[in-house]
């Protein structure tokens, strides 16, 4: 358990640093890439949970994450196409991907209730991190009003996910 807590603490510090790195002002193409990547990461975790979770509320939560993040990412793709923007890979996206690969490897090694608890806890931590980044860095930096509006809608949805993940995590204790 201590190892797990240390892992999530380390992941949180790593990601905070990642977001701070380019906090100066990511461009709209970079913001689009970060937001899309963040969604894909949560879909990958949810798909793992779909196959490994044993608790029905955890499975249902994973379904919700897949449904919502796919829907928001489809909107994002449609918007970048409409705006003629090409999402641009950047340090924050790369750091998020690296962090998620480590998290997935950790989760893959767990079974049964231990997996359920670790997945729920990681979803709370991940949504907190992404929501803070949206609020403090990505939304203020976004220049295009339609992109800014989509990020603001996304933030509302993901704040709901954070609360939902907290409810699920609490039930598992």
């Amino acid at each position: 358990m201590l190892i797990r807590i240390a892992f999530f603490a380390a992941a949180a510090v790593l990601s905070a640093a990642a977001f701070a790195q380019d906090a100066a002002k990511p461009s709209d193409p970079q913001i689009a890439h970060i937001a899309y990547t963040a969604g894909q990461i949560d879909i990958a975790s949810a798909e793992l949970a779909r196959s490994k979770a044993t608790n029905k509320d955890v499975k249902a939560f994973a379904d919700d994450m897949i449904r919502d993040h796919k829907a928001v990412n489809e909107k994002a793709l449609a918007l970048v196409k409409k705006l003629g923007v090409t999402p641009e890979d950047n340090d924050i996206s790369r750091s998020l991907t690296k962090q998620s690969e480590a998290k997935l490897a950790e989760l893959k090694g767990l079974q049964g209730p231990a997996f359920d608890k670790a997945y729920a806890a990681s979803e709370v931590a991940y949504h907190k991190q992404v929501n803070a980044a949206l609020k403090d860095t990505l939304i203020p930096a976004a220049q295009n009003p339609e992109l800014k509006s989509l990020l603001q809608t996304g933030l509302k949805i993901f704040e709901g996910h954070e609360q939902h993940a907290e409810m699920v995590a609490k039930e598992l204790k």
């Binding site: 449904r67 919502d68 928001v72 509302k156 709901g160």
Partner: protein
């Protein structure tokens, strides 16, 4: 304006009047908007036999689901759905996908 166009206009107006009457005082529709993962208004007051209509203006799917599980309205993005309230009382409901989204329907006899 041609006679044909005038006749079409009159027919349209008559149709609109009928539609209005259908949703008139005897059978009012109470609308709830879903936006930014919330029901607005969060509390709605209706009478027995009247309907509540939810419109989902979010990019993600929602439901309006009775807290006791007795009914559910599926609401895909951009779609509306309605339910007639058949019993008096105060009833809680939520979105099954986002359980932190809650609302209340107060049904008067």
């Amino acid at each position: 304006m041609t006679w044909r166009r005038l006749a079409a206009g009159v027919a349209l107006a008559a149709g609109a009047a009928c539609a209005g009457a259908a949703l008139g005082a005897a059978d009012p529709l109470h609308r709830v908007e879903i936006k930014d993962v919330g029901f607005a208004p969060p509390v709605i007051r209706v009478r027995v036999g009247e309907a509540v209509e939810w419109t989902n203006n979010d990019p993600v799917a929602h439901t309006a689901t009775a807290s006791d599980g007795s009914w559910e309205v599926d609401l895909q993005p951009g779609e509306s759905g309605r339910r007639e309230m058949q019993k008096a009382g105060t009833f809680g409901y939520l979105c099954r996908y986002h359980p932190n989204m809650t609302g209340t329907i107060v049904v008067a006899p």
